[in-house]
Symmetry: C2
Subunit: 383 residues, 2 copies
C-alpha cells in the first residue's frame, strides 16, 4: 500500500450509491476517508466526503485524478469494467476485489463456468448465440427457461423468464439490445432463496455470516430473515457452497452469495456479488461486525471482525419507492416512533417506483417478532 | 423550519470535532446532511461532508455563509457564545439547544444557580471576586476547595483543587488569565461519579438512558460502565435529578448530566453538557438508539428513540494519546483482532498526550466481562 495521506487512509470507491454511502459511514470510525468516483455529482456517497471525482470510469483523466487521491481502491458495483481495475493495478494501486476476480464475476457465463469447474452444484446453463439455440436449450432443460444477459443485469433488469417458445423472440430482442451476449439457465423449482455473506481477507482468512432467507418482490430483494428458517443440514450445505464459491474466484473483501434450496434440501448456487449486498444490510445492527466494516477490514489487510448475530432473530425490510417524484426525509418520522426499529435512508433525492430508498432492521427473539416490528416501521414510511 | 435543500435536511453544527463527526455519521442514515462550521479547515467532522464553513463563529460573513446553508442549527460544544445562537435565532433559524439554554449552561455560576433554584441538590458554591473571597469560602466550606473558571473549562482545564491557603495565589493567577471570572465549590467526598444521558424533544418529551459510572484519569473521562454498579434507589435518585436538571434549563436535544454519589447514597448534581457527551459514547452499540441519533431526532422534532441497553453490561474505554506526533490509523490493527470489541477513531491527524483519539466499546453479560474485553482491545491500540 502507498503511504497514507497525512495520517488518514484514503480508500477509493468506484461508485457512489447507497453501498458506497454505507461503506463511507463505516469508514468514519476506522480513520478511513473515502474517495467517491461516480458518473454524476451529488451522489449519496459523495455527499459524505470531501473527496469526490465526477466522470466516467473509463475517462483516463478522471481516472488519474481519482488514482492520485487513493491509497487503495474498492468498488460498490460489479459493472465497472475489469479493464479499469487492471489500469489501477498496473499503476501500482492495491485493488480489492481484483480485476481477475471481477472479470469472472461480471460475466455471468464465466462466473457459472468457474463455479461449475470448482465442482459446485448449480442449475444447468449455457451460452446462446441465436434464438434457435434458446429453443434447443428449452427442449433439453424444459420450460420455463431463464434467458439472461451475460453482463450488467441487476434487480431483474437483463433477465427474462420464458414460458413458451412464443416468449423467445421479444425477450431476445430486448436483452440483446446494445449487442449484449446471452445465456440460458434452467429454471429450478426452489422452495427458498438463501444468501450468505462471506468476507475474505487478503491472506485468505475467511469469515461467514449466518445463512439468511431472502424474499423477492418483482425480482427485487424485499425481506431478509436471519437466520434462515431452514434445517441445520441445509444451512451447513449453504455455508460450504458459499465459501467454496468465493474461494473459486479468489475473492478479497465482502461477497454476497445467493443460493436456491430445492424441496429435497439440495442447495444450488445462483450468483454472487463481489461487494456489500442488500441481503447483508441486516448486519449493521444485527451482527457484531457489519458487512461494511468487514469489507473495509478485508481490503485493508486488517483482521476480520466477528460475524455472530447479536440477537436470536434479525429481519430487514427494504423501503421501495411507491411513486415517482422528490424524496422527503421527514417521511420517516412516523416510522421512527416504532421503538427498536432501525431506519436507514439512502439519501436519494428522487423516488421512483420500486427504487431502493432505504431499509428497516429489527432484532427480536423470534423471526416473526422481528419481522412484525420491521414491517410495522416500514409500513409507516412515506418517502 | 425552513424548506429543505433539494430533498435533504441540512443541519448546521457549530464545531467540527469528534462529537460533530459522530453526529454526522448518525445523520447519514436519516437523510440529513451536516454543515460543519469550525475555526480551521480539515476538522474530523468536516472531512465527512461537502458542506464546510471555515472561520470564527463570531465573524458575521462566515456566520452568514453558514446560516444560508442550514435548515436548522445545533452545536457540539458549549463554548460557542450564546450571542451567536441568538443571532441565528433572530435570523429565523431553529437552534437547539437554544441560546437561552446555552447562556445558562456555559456559565458555571449561572448553571449552578439555576439548578439550586430548581431545588436540586448540589455542593455549596459561590462567586469569588478576589483571592480573599476564596480564603473566606475555604473557612466556611473547608479544604480541599475547588476553584473554577465560570466559562470555558473542560477536562480539568479551567479548574484547580486547592488544598491549603498557599495554593490560592498561583491558581488564582492561572485561572483569571484573560480576565476570566471564577467561582468556588465545596469538595464533596464522593464514592462514585455518575452520568446520565437525557434526550428531550422540542415538545418536552423526555427519554433517559441508563445511569452509568464514569472513571476519570487526570480529570479526563477514561472508563464508562453501563449500568452503573449502584443500588437501584441511588440510580432512581440520579435519574430524577438528571431529568429535573435538563427541564430546569429547558433543554432540547441530548444532555450529559454528571453527578456525585456520597457514601450515604446521596446524589448531588455536578454539571451538565448541552450536547452528546463522552459518557454516552457507549450508546452507539450499547443501546437501541445512540445518543447521536437521538440528538438528531430531538432537534428535528421527530419522535425520540428507545434508550434501553442491548446487553446486560456495556463498557467504554477512551483511547487517550500517549505521545505527541502524527496519528497512524493502522495502529488499531491489533485491537481489531479482539472479537466483539468496537473500535472508534476520531480522525485527528495529531496525537498529544492525554488527547481523546478514539474509544472502544464492548458488550457483555457482566461489567467485568465487558470491561476486560474493551480493555484488551484498547491496550492493543498504538496511535
Amino acid at each position: 500500500m502507498c503511504g497514507y495521506h497525512k495520517g488518514m487512509i484514503q480508500l477509493g470507491i468506484l461508485g457512489g450509491g447507497q453501498l458506497a454511502q454505507m461503506l463511507t459511514q463505516a469508514a468514519i470510525g476506522l480513520g478511513i476517508e473515502t474517495v467517491i468516483f461516480e458518473r454524476s455529482a451529488d451522489s449519496p456517497a459523495a455527499r459524505r466526503t470531501q473527496r469526490e471525482v465526477v466522470g466516467s470510469w473509463t475517462d483516463a483523466t478522471a481516472l488519474e485524478s481519482f488514482a492520485v487521491q487513493c491509497d487503495l481502491v474498492t468498488l460498490e458495483n460489479e459493472f465497472v469494467d475489469a479493464a479499469v481495475l487492471r489500469w489501477l493495478e498496473a499503476r501500482g494501486l492495491a485493488v480489492y476485489p481484483s480485476s481477475a476476480t471481477l472479470a469472472v464475476i461480471q460475466d455471468k457465463l464465466l462466473q457459472k463456468q468457474r463455479i461449475a469447474a470448482a465442482g459446485l452444484a448449480l442449475p444447468p446453463f449455457r451460452a446462446v448465440a441465436t434464438p434457435d439455440d434458446v429453443l434447443q436449450a428449452a427442449n433439453e432443460y424444459g420450460w420455463p427457461l431463464l434467458l439472461k444477459a451475460r453482463r450488467e443485469g441487476y434487480d431483474g433488469y437483463g433477465n427474462a423468464t420464458l414460458r413458451t417458445a412464443v416468449d423467445i423472440a421479444p425477450a431476445w430482442n430486448r436483452l440483446t439490445h446494445g449487442g449484449r451476449q446471452l445465456l440460458v439457465e434452467a429454471f429450478v423449482p426452489f422452495t427458498h432463496e438463501l444468501a450468505v455473506m462471506i468476507v475474505r481477507g487478503r491472506d485468505g482468512e475467511l469469515r461467514v455470516y449466518p445463512v439468511v432467507e431472502t424474499v423477492q418482490q418483482n425480482h427485487i430483494c424485499h425481506i431478509v430473515r436471519a437466520p434462515a428458517p431452514i434445517a441445520p443440514t441445509v444451512a451447513a450445505q449453504a455455508v460450504t457452497l458459499a465459501q467454496q464459491a468465493v474461494q473459486a474466484v479468489d475473492g478479497v473483501g465482502i461477497f454476497g452469495v445467493e443460493l436456491f434450496v430445492l424441496a429435497d434440501g439440495t442447495v444450488l448456487y445462483n450468483e454472487m456479488a463481489p461487494r456489500p449486498h442488500n441481503s447483508g444490510h441486516y448486519t449493521i445492527e444485527g451482527c457484531l461486525t457489519s458487512q461494511f466494516e468487514n469489507h473495509l477490514r478485508a481490503v485493508l489487510g486488517w483482521p476480520l471482525g466477528a460475524t455472530a448475530l447479536r440477537a436470536p432473530a434479525v429481519v430487514m425490510v427494504n423501503l421501495l419507492g411507491q411513486r415517482n417524484g422528490a424524496a422527503y426525509p421527514e417521511g420517516i418520522r412516523a416510522a421512527l416512533a416504532v421503538d427498536g426499529a432501525h431506519i436507514h435512508l439512502y439519501g436519494k433525492r428522487e423516488v421512483r417506483v420500486g427504487r431502493k430508498m432505504g431499509h428497516v432492521t429489527a432484532l427480536g427473539t423470534t423471526l416473526p417478532e422481528a419481522e412484525a416490528l420491521a414491517r410495522r416501521a416500514a409500513d409507516q414510511v412515506e418517502l
